[in-house]
């Protein structure tokens, strides 16, 4: 237990759903990003998976829309401490996008329009754990929240769910991304409170 803060009560203890350590519940959907929101013309939008042998698998917006989609309802946990529960999305599972991709890579390096990057093990993108999401709560995903499409990997802190996703490089080695290079954790499991390097 930490040092007691004299006179601090905190919110009434609820018997509600358990949150990861250090997180608090919000009903809002706060926005966090490091720079201006990029605007991507839909006719030039593309999503590319590049394998470790430089083989490219490419989808235009129309091609992405033509793929079977899923509507996961998931909890979001942001490293800035807020959690938002029961959010519903629509998007294409990475299992679908990876189905024709031949790879022996262990890691994924995700890159976005605007230059953002993040890294995670490839295994965390598979088996129903990740989507390229383009709708939130039934509406087109707003640019400030990553529209037209963002990665959604809800079992990791939300910075791994790269907004404005443009592609994924599959790699043998784990290359740190934007926040990871700035001191944030390489994996980012909220239930183990892996916020920063060394956590």
């Amino acid at each position: 237990m930490g040092i007691v803060s004299p006179g601090f009560q905190g919110r009434p203890r609820s018997s509600g759903p358990e949150l990861p350590p250090g997180q608090y519940l919000t009903e809002d959907f706060p926005v966090l990003s490091a720079g201006p929101t990029p605007r991507v013309p839909m006719d030039r939008w593309e999503f590319v998976i590049t394998t470790e042998t430089s083989r490219e698998h490419r989808w235009t917006w129309a091609e992405l829309m033509a793929l079977p989609s899923e509507t996961p309802t998931v909890d979001l946990h942001c490293v800035t401490k807020w959690s938002k529960l029961g959010t519903t999305w629509q998007g294409v599972s990475l299992d679908t996008l990876m189905s024709d991709v031949d790879t022996a890579a262990d890691y994924a390096f995700v890159h976005s329009y605007g230059g953002y990057t993040t890294n995670l093990p490839l295994a965390d993108l598979l088996d129903g754990q990740a989507w390229v999401a383009y709708k939130f709560d039934g509406d087109d995903l707003a640019p400030a929240h990553g529209g037209p499409a963002r990665l959604l990997v809800p079992h990791l802190y939300l910075w791994k769910s790269a907004k404005w996703v443009r592609g994924i490089q599959l790699r043998f080695d784990d290359e740190p991304g934007f926040w990871e290079t700035a001191g944030y954790h390489d994996y980012g499991d909220p239930w183990r409170e892996q916020r920063y390097q060394g956590d």
Binding site: M1, G2, S5, P6, R13, P36, T37, K81, A182, Q197
Partner: protein, 250 residues
């Protein structure tokens, strides 16, 4: 985007409130003594952890307001209505009381005193806090990098660091400050309240050709608007760094 690195593991430290200063009726600066504090860059933040007697604890992130100064760290906290942590820090937390914190955190929304390019700071409300750290760091380092601050506030009473900003504009060569009032203006102000627009940024910022480093901090809608304006005026998006204070900062 460029890369930035901060090394090492972040451990929880116990700070003690040395003194507190009211900035506005709802915001207070906490001057903390934090033994072992490793120093910080202007623009970084800390995680603060409060623990109640029954062991319940909760955390929030707050920007650091001060430039690096030994083991002293200043935070300016806005009390969020119905917030869980900020009303405690603004109203209850008293000199001598301990608080746990760890940091500094964040290696992107920072200004380094080695910087040579002109700097444009655009603050909305409590978004002034990390930008004030940059103004203070510039002064502490004796930097001559030209700084411009555009500070949007609701009313003259909502200005943080009002006396210090007046003093710095007078004494810190190369620092310009422009206020934009959104609800009420001071007596004799040349125009009615308004929001920051293209003209404000164009007139009181830097031309894109000077390749300024731009820092925008405030509520989400403010940051979205201002960042879009900067890009539309021709600023390189990679030189526009943003930090948002959401409505859930409580």
């Amino acid at each position: 985007m460029a890369r930035a690195a901060i090394p090492g593991r972040l451990t929880w430290r116990v700070g003690k409130l040395a003194e507190a200063r009211a900035e506005t009726p709802t915001a207070r600066t906490l001057v903390l003594d934090v033994p072992g504090w490793p120093g910080h860059l202007a623009g970084q933040h800390v995680d603060v952890r409060l623990t109640a007697e029954d062991g319940y604890s909760t955390q929030r992130s707050y920007s650091i307001a001060s430039s690096a100064d030994g083991e002293r760290v200043e935070l300016t906290i806005q009390a969020v209505p119905d917030g869980e942590v900020s009303p405690y820090l603004v109203q209850t937390f008293s000199p001598g009381d301990p608080v746990e914190l760890r940091g500094p955190v964040g290696g992107w929304f920072v200004w380094r005193t080695s910087g040579m390019d002109p700097v444009l700071l655009i603050a909305g409300g409590s978004g002034i806090v990390p930008l004030m750290a940059m103004i203070r760091a510039r002064r502490a380092a004796g930097s001559r990098v030209p700084f411009r601050l555009i500070y949007s506030v609701r009313t003259p009473d909502d200005v943080y660091y009002a006396d210090e900003l007046r003093r710095r504009v007078r004494d810190d060569a190369g620092l310009d400050v422009t206020f934009v009032y959104t609800r009420a203006v001071p007596d004799g102000w040349p125009h009615p309240p308004r929001r920051v627009g293209v003209a404000d940024v164009n007139t009181n910022g830097w031309p894109p050709a000077l390749t300024p480093d731009c820092y925008v901090c405030g509520p989400t809608a403010f940051v979205e608007t201002v960042a879009d304006i900067l890009v539309a005026l021709g600023h390189d998006p990679r030189r526009v760094r943003t930090e948002r204070f959401g409505p859930t900062g409580g």
